[in-house]
Amino acid sequence: MVTFIAILFAGALFAGFIGSLTGLGGGVIIVPLLTIGFGVDIRYAIGTSLISVISTSSGAASSYVKEGILNIRIGMFLEIATTLGAIAGAAIAVFAPTHAISIIFGLVLLYSAIVSFQKRKGELDSENLPEEKPNRMAELLKAKGTYPTADGLKKYTLQHLGGGFTVMSLAGILSGLLGIGSGALKVIAMDSIMKIPFKVSTSTSNFMIGVTAAASAGIYLNRGYIDPVLSMPVMVGVLIGSLIGAKFLIRSRTKSIRIIFAIVITLLAFEMIYNGLAKNI
């Protein structure tokens, strides 16, 4: 049992590091680690994963939030979509054949990995955003901001609010359904759709994941999916890993984060599709 806990802790440490660095959260690694690696029932894995997701997000966000990279207002506004989605996802989890959703999710991730690779050619569009004409809704929601770069403060204004809100709802549903942070989708919603700079997107995503996961974790806790013995080493391991990852993010450059992000989501995409086809999920 001590060995089991120790290996679990090590896996969680790694998951937390990758999760925090990419804005994905540790959940997508924890669920396959527990089910495939340890033969744990998927329902316990989902409950444990949600716990790890909250600790990754909150642990890393406690560093990000002071740096002034993330945007609290945009995050809060979009949390309406993610928390509503999370509750819906947890409710759907009772009825839906989750292996089908897993396949769809895998395909979405795969698509986003391709998009992420393509974007490297036009790296400038994300980093040197022209000051676009602000729309009325964005103005009302004060959905704009600045973030620090090597060349001083850069401005950005949020675009395509409706599309972003819709994808955020989907991110919430998948989070509640699969017990993951859905950080990849949150980053896509902000980075690709709403045209928020990549670093602001990843750190705001991390910030939002905790609240999203808490919305479904309450329901999973009540359903008895969250086991103390299983969750303890995972939670602590993921927490320490995420804090190391957060230190790394501030030092590293956007391009390397994007590459790591693309590789990680490609691997996860295949994993999700495989698990769906094998009806492991």
Binding site: M1, V2, I5, L34, G39, V40, D41, R43, Y44, I51, I54, S55, S57, S58, G59, A61, S62, S63, V65, K66, G68, I72, R73, M76, F77, E79, I80, T83, L84, A86, I87, A90, A91, L140, K142, G210, V211, A213, A214, A215, S216, A217, G218, I219, L221, N222, R223, G224, Y225, I226, D227, P228, V229, L230, S231, M232, P233, M235, V236, L239
Partner: protein, 131 residues
């Protein structure tokens, strides 16, 4: 609205929020690790089986029971209180944001934050509803 005041408040809000998250997460981790140590002392030979889903007993599921049982200082009960505290941490962050936006008199964001808080409350107290 003077931008300087707003900026100052936002920076202050960020700092307090960061501390709040840190305290919440580390207290939760401390409780979980303490509970883990207690568990190993109290049940050194126990092997838990997670390969089949049985569902947790009520004392690990219901908020008021988790809080009550933790005072008996049994390992798993203490861990579960830590996990509950962890789930409560993002909720506390939202409550704090609400206070922050109230102080800033940012009414649109007071409303937005209140909506998020209501959604979270519905979820976390879902066991008191028939769900």
């Amino acid at each position: 609205m003077t931008t300087n005041t707003k900026h100052w408040n936002d920076a202050r809000m960020r700092n307090i929020m960061g501390t709040l998250l840190r305290v919440g997460v580390f207290s939760a981790a401390f409780l979980a690790v303490s509970g883990g140590v207690l568990f190993f002392i109290q049940h050194p030979k126990e092997i838990s089986d997670f390969t089949t889903f049985k569902g947790e007993p009520a004392k690990f599921r219901q908020v008021h029971l988790i809080v009550k049982e933790a005072f008996n200082l049994r390992g798993r009960d203490v861990i579960q209180l830590g996990l509950l505290l962890l789930i409560a941490t993002p909720v506390a962050r939202v409550i704090f944001s609400l206070i922050g936006f109230l102080i800033e008199k940012d009414w649109i964001y007071v409303a937005i934050t209140a909506i998020v808080l209501i959604i979270l409350s519905v979820s976390l107290f879902s066991n008191y509803l028939t769900f």
